[in-house]
């Protein structure tokens, strides 16, 4: 056990974690840890925060709080962290099943809306006259309704959009992400960025009060976190496994965390 004199704990926080309300989020849920195997197991059971209602539906845990918690349990531990110094905890009632009716309504909305939009566009740019002129240029004859041009044109319209988004229903042409996926990803990133900035401001405003609240929110398992962890029957474990719908985002953002370092607050 003499190796445990100054144990070094390497911590890499995840970006975003989902938790059920009332769940006690443990260190292992929000971070990848690297330490002596025994210490690592104990640490991953260390309770960090209880996800309760007064956090709203999103809570920010920053590295300072985690270091403080680890040092309380293991005063000698030296904590090294990589990547982002904070993690967002999404407190979701349950993984919401999307409403089929809403999906249908939105589908119809987009279907009719984009159909109308393309008609308006065609009227706006006098597409009919252009088609008649183009048909005349190609075949040498004027046609009131150049269907030979217009029907392939209409299907080409759909093909162009599919080509742009790299998606034919569920099948894709190659492995590269489509612009839409990139867009969804960067939208989520900017949302996270906003929330993190906002939460840090809140933390500053509330000052030490916020910290003491957060400490109070921890279950009082006494000074020995391993005892607390083992005595707890862990009722959330059944729920806590599936509630991470954004595993893909987390994974991908993990790859980019080096790039993201520049723009964090």
């Amino acid at each position: 056990m003499d190796r445990m004199l100054t144990p070094i704990v390497y911590v890499r926080l995840r970006k975003r974690v989902s938790a059920a309300p009332g769940e006690t989020v443990k260190l292992g849920r929000i971070a990848q840890l690297l330490a002596e195997p025994e210490l690592e197991r104990t640490l991953s059971e260390l309770p960090i925060i209880r996800a309760d209602e007064n956090h709203g539906n999103i809570a920010l845990v920053d590295m300072m709080h985690i270091v403080r918690t680890i040092r309380t349990a293991f005063p000698k531990a030296q904590v090294e962290h990589f990547g982002e110094p904070h993690v967002l905890i999404e407190i979701a009632k349950k993984a919401k099943k999307p409403n089929r009716i809403a999906l249908g309504v939105v589908w119809l909305l987009l279907f009719i809306g984009s159909g109308l939009a393309i008609m308006n566009f065609h009227e706006d740019v006098s597409m009919m006259e252009v088609h008649q002129r183009l048909y005349e240029m190609i075949t040498g004859r004027y046609a009131e309704h150049p269907y030979w041009l217009q029907i392939p044109y209409s299907f080409g319209l759909g093909a162009g959009m599919v080509l742009f988004f790299n998606q034919l229903f569920k099948k894709r042409f190659n492995e590269e992400p489509s612009p839409l996926e990139v867009e969804m990803f960067s939208y989520q990133e900017s949302l996270n960025h906003y929330i993190i900035t906002e939460e840090y401001q809140k933390m500053h405003r509330d000052g030490m009060e916020a910290h003491s609240n957060r400490m109070a929110a921890l279950p009082d398992g006494g000074p020995s976190p391993s005892a607390a962890a083992s005595s707890e029957p862990n009722p959330d474990s059944a729920e806590s496994e599936p509630v991470q719908p954004e595993g893909r985002t987390v994974e991908r953002s993990g790859l980019r965390s080096g790039q993201g370092d520049g723009d964090r607050p």
Partner: protein, 141 residues
């Protein structure tokens, strides 16, 4: 003599107008990121200038064909091929425009339909095809 001055002035106006419209069109295509997307699909990032050349050539040839009334006498099926390509291009413009406006990510996020974006996308694509067919076959009679 005044005819020369008038024609010269018209030439200057025409050149200025052409530069403005051409610049605008290129700016539009650049904003919509059509070329990088096509380069990504064909894995030909180093050939992007070749594609620029295609755009410039297309613009010039079509302008001349339009203004000088060039004609070829081909079968209607040739018009079909041209129509397919033209539609493809307009479809890409439409797709790029939707993407720039960020409609789908926000909508999917708002109503929690994150996993169904593909279906929403297909709604838009099919809506465009149906709207276009409707316009040419039914609406414009």
């Amino acid at each position: 003599m005044s005819g020369w001055i008038g024609n010269g002035f018209a030439a200057v106006v025409g050149l200025a107008g052409g530069i403005a419209v051409g610049g605008g069109m290129v700016a539009f295509l650049v904003v919509l990121d059509i070329l990088p997307r096509l380069a990504q699909l064909t894995r030909a990032f180093h050939r992007v200038h070749f594609m620029e050349g295609a755009i410039v050539a297309g613009v010039i040839v079509c302008t001349f064909a339009d203004f000088f009334d060039w004609r070829v006498h081909l079968a209607p099926a040739a018009a079909g091929v041209v129509g397919l390509f033209a539609g493809c291009f307009v479809g890409m413009l439409a797709g790029a425009l939707t993407e720039v406006l960020n409609v789908l990510p926000i909508m999917a996020k708002r109503i929690g339909l994150g996993g169904f974006v593909v279906w929403l996308l297909m709604a838009m694509v099919l809506g465009k095809v149906a709207g276009s067919l409707f316009e040419w076959i039914v609406f414009r009679i």
